[in-house]
């Protein structure tokens, strides 16, 4: 394409300006206005969403616990463990730490002591090698009194200081950037030779939890689909005044607090709860074999299926409502049984709604937190509960961030897969 007409002349407006320039100018004004209109929302999203998520992703590969001390009062940032970091730089992996290494460690411990930072550095090492935090606090307390030869003096304090694993972890931590939290999030670690290996079998939790989250989310998605499809169909075919009432019932869960709904499930499902009492009273169950439906996986599945149901019903309803009943009638008049008419004519037309609902429910349940925390018990916990645990209890934010980033990555992959298989433009949310 060129700016000129066939005979090479430039198209111009009545007052002689080039047409394209005039058009661009006219449109620039409209574009500027459109941009100003969305600016507040854009700023809001940048500040409250993009920035925190970027920061979180950054935290998953960056931890300054062993490299920088930041004074909480004054905000002054002081590099720590600089001597040992220098030693690591000079000596490649596999070098046995000699007297020079222990001297550097002793000097750094003195600095830690002055900054009141041994706990911070110890905690960072402790993430990867448990039990090492106290070694740092203890050694730092006595750091000033240490005399050469430092190696003997420090090993005298605690002979674990000589562990090759410890030195490998310190080497890793002496740089702020690390992939170790991702390894940990996948139940892996580096051994003393920095090779990636699986952690001890009894400490492999995260992969298992990811799998459980995936499985339960798929199960919940499936259950919501099975429950929602007939309801949505009923809603879509009932005369409007009846369907409005039913719609209110479906949406009712949206209007009550999540906490209230979850709590009422606890009241209903616990072993002394309403359902069990009813079963026992009616003689179906003996008093001693009350069903365990709460504080386990069953509880999580039941409560979450209920809570997420509307997210399946609404997209289904929105694709079913406009499907003209004459399609099914046509199929029937052409000789199809009602089952064939459903399977070959009605169902295919609802697939975009199924896709949208399933994606919605699945993504929501993969990241669900409150309900499993309250009714999940030990084996009904999902990955989000562990992320919360690392955010709030163990304060290992880097690991929490790595877990969350893996979750996000997994969802994006599924989303991509869905796009390849079904096509995102086939999605219909309403």
């Amino acid at each position: 394409m060129t700016d000129s007409t066939a005979n090479g002349e430039m198209l111009t407006t009545a007052d002689g300006r080039p047409l394209k320039a005039a058009l661009a100018k006219a449109e620039a004004h409209a574009k500027r206005r459109a941009f100003l209109l969305v600016l507040p929302l854009l700023a809001f999203i940048l500040i409250t969403f993009v920035a925190p998520i970027g920061q979180m992703l950054f935290k998953s590969v960056n931890n300054e616990g062993f490299t920088v001390h930041e004074d909480l009062g004054t905000g002054v940032r002081t590099p720590i463990m600089t001597n040992i970091a220098a030693w690591f730089d000079e000596n490649p992996l596999g070098t046995d730490p000699g007297e020079d290494a222990y001297e550097a460690l002793a000097k750094d411990l003195v600095v830690l002591r002055e900054l009141k930072a041994p706990g911070q550095a110890g905690t960072r090492i402790n993430y990867e090698l448990s039990g090492s935090r106290s070694m740092f606090t203890k050694a730092a307390r006595k750091a000033k009194k240490l005399k050469p030869p430092y190696k003997e003096a420090i090993l005298d304090l605690d002979e674990d200081w000589g562990s090759p694993k410890l030195w490998q972890v310190m080497r890793g931590a002496s740089s702020s950037f690390t992939s170790n939290f991702y390894l940990a999030a996948a139940d892996r670690q580096r051994d003393e030779n920095a090779k990636v290996v699986m952690v001890n079998e009894n400490r492999q939790v995260y992969v298992k939890l990811f799998m459980r989250t995936l499985n339960l989310s798929l199960l919940i998605t499936f259950l919501t689909f099975v429950l929602a499809y007939p309801i949505a169909h009923l809603l879509a075919t009932l005369p409007l005044r009846h369907s409005n009432l039913l719609m209110i019932l479906v949406l009712l869960p949206f209007w009550t607090s999540l906490l209230v709904r979850t709590t009422s499930w606890m009241v209903l499902l616990q072993s002394q709860g309403v359902v069990n009492d009813a079963l026992v009273a009616s003689g179906i169950l003996g008093d001693e074999n009350r069903l365990q439906m709460m504080y386990n996986r069953t509880g999580t599945v039941i409560a979450m299926t209920h809570i997420l149901l509307p997210f399946m019903v609404l997209p289904l309803y929105s694709v079913m409502r406009p499907i003209n009943p004459s399609y099914v009638r046509a199929a029937r008049s052409l000789g199809a049984t009602s089952w064939t008419a459903f399977r070959r004519i009605y169902f295919p037309q609802t697939v975009p709604g199924i896709g949208a609902g399933a994606l919605l429910v699945f993504i929501l349940s993969v990241g669900y937190y409150i309900t499993p925390a309250l009714v999940g018990g030990a084996d009904g916990q999902l990955i989000s509960n562990l992320i919360a645990f690392h955010m709030q209890k163990s304060l290992n934010w880097s690991l929490a961030a790595a877990l969350a980033a893996l979750l996000l990555g997994g969802i994006l992959i599924l989303y991509w897969l869905y796009d390849r298989l079904v096509g995102i433009d086939n999605l219909k949310l309403g």
Binding site: A331, R332, S333, A341
Partner: protein, 366 residues
């Protein structure tokens, strides 16, 4: 049943009633017999129960009372897919997620036909409506008229003996509609299919059908071939609904020798043919078709009653002239005359005398 299946009727409604809500009868008392191969149109205003009748015949609605018979067999309790009735819907109802070929293949697949047989039938059905080239398109890629043809060929592809069409041309523009009217009748007659056609368009009904059933208020008001319907309406609803019609109101004075003397509301007397009036004193609505009105004295029978009229408007319409008159207080009285060389063009304001043959003037219910 007292009124059992008459052997020659292919489709039969026997005292059928239908109510959706248990309060209102949408179809009141439907009796209808159709021989094989007939093209019958249900014509009536919107809401008169035409679709309901069609749906009962197709099996999508159940009759509240009465029997529906197909080929002598009662079908009230037979599900739609076993009735073998082809159907064309107003919105065509072509399956949007299938190609044209798949749409046509569907009825054959559910009947378990083999691939080669299916392909042959599909080809024949598409060629029949001249749409063979579109077999791989999707319905959304076709124009309204093309979709209409596909809907028609899909309803015919499995060779049903009875085809139902519910206002199939309602969504098309006038020109296309006229073309399709012709094609549909042609197809139906060539294939010898029995057709029940629903429309609210009277021209469509008159041009296409062997017989027309005029529906109103849940009843068939008259069931007759088009010419009879137009020339011999049995009540004022039919007279008004079919074609253009002039009405004059009055009271029956006497009925004698097959002629009713009616006194119009302004006092004038006219002779009419009594259709559904039976005794003097009854109120009546007199119906005269515009082309049967005569104002040339020479052509009127001797002694025939005439009426005074004032010409209000003269409209030139090419093949005919349409003249509006004031007659017996009615300003909407219309006369249609053929555009012939010797035809008089009446000037507005002229006073004339008009008359007609008593048999063209029908005394109907008030």
């Amino acid at each position: 049943m007292a009124n059992s299946a008459s052997s020659d009727a292919f489709v039969e409604f026997d005292r059928v009633q239908k109510s959706y809500d248990g309060e209102v009868l949408v179809v009141k008392d439907l009796n209808l017999q159709m021989p094989k191969g007939e093209f019958l149109t249900m014509l009536g205003p919107s809401g008169s129960g035409k679709t309901t009748c069609l749906m009962m015949l197709a099996g999508f609605e159940t009759a509240t009372h009465g029997e529906i018979r197909l080929d002598g067999r009662e079908i009230n309790n037979i599900p739609p897919h076993k009735r073998g009735i082809g159907m064309v819907f107003q919105n065509y109802a072509l399956f949007p997620h299938m190609t044209i070929g798949e749409n046509l293949s569907f009825p054959l697949e559910v009947r378990g036909l083999g691939k080669s047989e299916r392909e042959a039938k599909i080809k024949r059905a598409l060629d029949m409506v001249e749409m063979g080239a579109f077999i791989n398109r999707r319905p959304a890629q076709l124009s309204g008229g093309q979709q209409q043809r596909i809907a028609l060929s899909r309803a015919l592809v499995f060779e049903p003996e009875l085809v139902l069409m519910d206002e199939p041309l309602g969504a098309l523009d006038k020109q296309l509609r006229e073309k399709m009217q012709f094609e549909i009748t042609h197809l139906a007659h060539n294939l010898g299919i029995t057709t029940v056609y629903v429309t609210h368009d009277q021209t469509e009904a008159l041009t296409m059908s062997d017989r027309v059933a005029v529906f109103d208020d849940g009843r068939i008001q008259q069931l007759a071939p088009p010419d009879e319907l137009y020339e011999q309406p049995q009540n004022s609803f039919v007279a008004q609904f079919i074609g253009e019609n002039n009405t004059l109101e009055g009271v029956v004075k006497e009925i004698k020798g097959g002629i009713a003397l009616v006194q119009l509301d302004d006092g004038e007397l006219i002779d009419c043919k009594p259709i559904n009036v039976s005794q003097p004193g009854e109120r009546t609505r007199v119906s005269i078709r515009p082309e049967r009105v005569e104002f040339n004295k020479d052509r009127l029978k001797e002694g025939a009653h005439t009426l005074k009229a004032e010409v209000l408007e003269f409209i030139y319409m090419g093949d005919i002239f349409r003249t509006r008159l004031r007659v017996a207080g009615n300003d909407e009285f219309v006369v249609k005359t053929r555009n012939a060389p010797d035809q008089v063009r009446l000037k507005p304001g002229t006073q004339i005398e008009i008359g007609w043959l008593p048999e063209d003037c029908r005394a109907l219910d008030a």
